[in-house]
Symmetry: C2
Subunit: 344 residues, 2 copies
């Protein structure tokens, strides 16, 4: 056990630095009013005495822990690593600590939230998984805002920010149609995720409106991963002998990359000469030489900023605004996997 | 502010479930002695009343928060994403929460540790950055073990686990020499990191011992990233017109991948016909069709397991064992970027 007695307190630090106990407290509170010279003298005294303030104890009176929980799904998708990096950067800069959880794609995150609540976090960002209405209610009753990142839950009172996924799916359909594609395959992700569903719906609706018969839109289950996209492509075109379509749309970049490697590496297909490929997300990897993938960019920085605005950490007393649904538009990033229409 | 009064307590839950208050406490403690039926009745009552136990408050008496801090460097390197995933999986399975911090490569992590200490974590895993002897002392004095992951700090009393990086560098030198390489380039990473230094030293020592003149070992600064490896390769062989060597060793896979894309994409170099490439880490991406990189595998699962053994979370009262340095051997994974010697 750590020693309970004999531990240095803020009184000892105050005595050594020749200041009041409340000055010691202010020196350790972000944004509080204290001169830089006084703060430095206090931090020096604290270091000499090995004193560290106890945020856990003080949270019992302030009822703020300065911790935010980030609940992540699939870290195999580099897009969510990029989101995690962006959230960490912004939260750390504000002096906020991050409790990280992962939950399997498509599974319910109620258990993770129950664990998070025991730590009295100031807010929750959910980048994946399902969430019950009941659990949202429990969090909101306790004054803890939940922000959904790149998803929404129909009927939920949780607010969120997402890319306009349906419109992005339409952009990709237009790009492929414009390049002359008339038969398609679609690599789907998590069947319970609204992100995947919306992209698929926007893409398919646009194709159907433009007269493509449903029989010419082949749906494949890519499980949102590189390996899933790779395996689904081989299964469809090597094992099941479906004819190679004019174009494949990966609901996310990492599945599109898996499909590209399967097509070129195992089947000698030339991209885009034999078949065009489109993605969604614009992860860093999509820009690398072996891929140069034409994709729909999600504006991660703008989305993380909106997510933190919704969390509203600066106004802990404010009522939680339920059901706000912010949609940020995506845009096509043209590279080498879809011939770009000549600008007339 | 969250309401201070009128909040449901464990007494209310005990009354509704018809059990004692201590039974409620046991129901919410991992591994405590309580029948499954009783636990279920208590959890049902808690859900009905929206009751969540306060781990923060109970940590003041137990002096255990059940939180571990993971301090990460560069999440741009997929190897450390893989490590984070492995740590999250193992810690979550034990009911331990993870506080995540990132620190710039090569910078000092004392500030991050000061922040971590205020949350009274039960242990700290450091996968990057420097650490002062003073800060190690502060943590150990407070009974908080620090485990260094894939690095060591000379003279530090912190324990750690790492791949035998010097021996891995030697393995790669032997592989390239065996395939006939006689001139070399080396993509270095973080100059302050022992990981990069050890791999470089093992590699270079082996080459010198085997009669390669120092002038035939070109050192390039790749900054441990894809972009850094890509740019350093272009700078050396396009701008500065160094002759293309027989082989390049990327101190990590992600730099080797950047070099491969620069060589093939911008300079039309054929791999391995014109030049061989070796990596280190064996990240998932190294196995993909565009790369098929021959590399030194780091056994991440074995290393994370050893790291958690060193943390020894089950024995909070135990004295911290200082200065344990566990080295796990790496091994060559043969793929396409180095011709494999015929097994005679």
């Amino acid at each position: 056990m750590k020693p309970l007695s004999g531990r240095v307190t803020s009184l000892d630090v105050a005595a050594l630095a020749g200041v009041s106990q409340s000055a010691v407290s202010r020196a350790f509170t972000e944004g509080s009013s204290i001169s830089e010279a006084k703060r430095k003298a206090i931090l020096d005294a604290a270091l000499k005495l090995n004193y560290v303030p106890n945020s856990i104890a003080s949270s019992l009176t302030t009822r703020r822990t300065n911790m935010v929980a980030v609940i992540l799904g699939n870290l195999d998708n580099p897009f969510y690593v990029q989101v995690l990096k962006a959230l960490i950067t912004r939260l750390q800069a504000r002096g906020v600590q991050i409790l990280t959880f992962t939950v399997k794609n498509g599974s319910n995150s109620d258990d993770a939230l129950m664990r998070v609540l025991r730590y009295q976090v100031d807010g929750i960002i959910l980048t994946s998984a399902q969430l019950s209405t009941r659990m949202t209610g429990i969090c909101h009753d306790r004054g803890i805002p939940i922000v959904l990142f790149n998803r929404y839950i129909p009927g939920s009172s949780a607010s969120g920010v997402r890319c306009d996924n349906a419109a992005g799916g339409r952009l990709m359909a237009e790009a492929l149609l414009g390049a002359g594609a008339r038969s398609f395959a679609l690599l789907k992700g998590d069947p319970n995720g609204t992100t995947s569903q919306d992209r698929q719906r926007g893409f398919t609706d646009c194709l159907l409106e433009r007269g493509i018969p449903p029989a010419d839109i082949l749906e494949l289950e890519g499980q949102s991963t590189y390996d899933g996209g790779h395996a689904a492509t081989l299964r469809a075109f090597l094992d099941e002998r479906h004819p190679i379509p004019d174009a494949i749309f990966g609901i996310n970049d990492i599945m599109a990359m898996g499909a590209m490697d399967a097509l070129r590496g195992e089947m000698g297909v030339k991209i885009p000469a034999d078949l065009m490929v489109g993605g969604f997300d614009n992860i860093d990897e999509a820009d690398r030489w072996p891929y140069r993938l034409t994709t729909v960019r999600q504006p991660v920085d703008e989305m993380t900023e909106e997510a933190l605005n919704l969390l509203d950490l600066d106004n802990p007393g404010a009522a939680i605004q339920p059901g706000i649904d912010i949609k940020v538009p995506g845009r096509i990033v043209w590279r080498s996997t879809i011939p770009r229409p000549v600008d007339l």
